[in-house]
């Protein structure tokens, strides 16, 4: 048995939260030119800032979630984390796609 299920559990929730952060930042940036300027000034391009920010956030959350709480997670908790990640990844991807469809059709 692969004992360190907590690594998988913490990675799943870190990926989930990172995905939600990507959705939030993406949508907020479309409505806040000032925020876009801040992101652009950080690294010379807003997409580079979002890319680096997302991967840093993921690893940071992974580290923190792996440190806090019980030493390990059981199979049920890990399985639930993976299914939750599955559902939220679909929802995050659909949110981004539908937002840009809506934005193009109704905002321009």
């Amino acid at each position: 048995m692969y004992k360190n299920l907590k690594l998988i559990w913490s990675s799943a929730y870190s990926a989930l939260i990172t995905g939600l952060a990507v959705v939030a930042v993406t949508i907020y940036m479309e409505y806040s030119p000032a925020f876009k300027v801040i992101l652009t000034n950080l690294t010379s391009h807003h997409w580079i800032s979002k890319s680096l920010g997302s991967i840093i956030l993921y690893f940071l959350l992974w580290f923190v979630l792996n440190k806090i709480g019980a030493d390990n997670k059981n199979e049920l908790q890990t399985r639930r984390a993976l299914w939750t990640l599955f559902i939220f990844t679909i929802l995050s991807a659909l949110s981004i796609f539908l937002f840009f469809v809506w934005h193009y059709l109704f905002v321009g």
């Binding site: 048995m1 692969y2 299920l5 690594l7 998988i8 990675s11 799943a12 870190s14 990926a15 990172t18 995905g19 990507v22 993406t26 010379s44 391009h45 997409w47 580079i48 979002k50 890319s51 997302s54 991967i55 993921y58 199979e75 049920l76 890990t78 399985r79 993976l82 299914w83 990640l85 599955f86 990844t89 679909i90 995050s92 991807a93 981004i96 796609f97 840009f100 469809v101 934005h103 193009y104």
Partner: protein, 156 residues
């Protein structure tokens, strides 16, 4: 180095690495579907997948920042299908950011032998492949919109 950084080579590498990622996660899903119990093969598939998507991210990102914004985007926006940028490119560049953290999670889960995590890991591997294919389709739309965007300029 000059050849490697040429625009067509960058696009080819971006696509090639993404195909490696898509195929590797399809392979991983197939290992689970077939009930294969060889952990080493699952880990190799997942490692190749993660390497593919990270490589595609870096190469595609370089192309996007260096060439797409100044050279391609203005042509698409002035062409027959400006929505290709407004919808396909915007969605593509942001949905891609979701993939690598999920892929790393699948890599970790692929190391596990617990029966109860096999099914969600298989579906996550399939989801990564489907997202990769959808992003590839958006890339095709963007390339086509650029090609048709330059036709009037050439003809004129």
């Amino acid at each position: 180095m000059e050849i490697l950084l040429a625009k067509p080579v960058l696009i080819g590498l971006h696509l090639g690495m993404a195909i490696l990622g898509i195929d590797a996660f399809l392979w991983l899903a197939g290992e689970y579907a077939a009930g294969a119990m060889v952990t080493r093969r699952r880990v190799i598939a997942a490692v190749l997948g993660v390497i593919g998507f990270i490589g595609s991210w870096i190469v595609g990102g370089y192309y996007y920042v260096k060439y797409y914004g100044p050279l391609v985007k203005p042509v698409i926006k002035a062409g027959l299908a400006p929505w290709a940028h407004a919808i396909a490119m915007e969605a593509k560049e942001h949905i891609f950011l979701l993939i690598v953290p999920v892929a790393i999670t699948v890599l970790l889960a692929a190391r596990g032998t617990e029966p109860s995590i096999r099914r969600p890991t298989m579906w996550l591997a399939l989801l990564i492949s489907v997202m990769g294919l959808a992003i590839g389709a958006m890339g095709f739309i963007i390339s086509a919109a650029y090609r048709f965007g330059v036709i009037p300029a050439v003809a004129g």
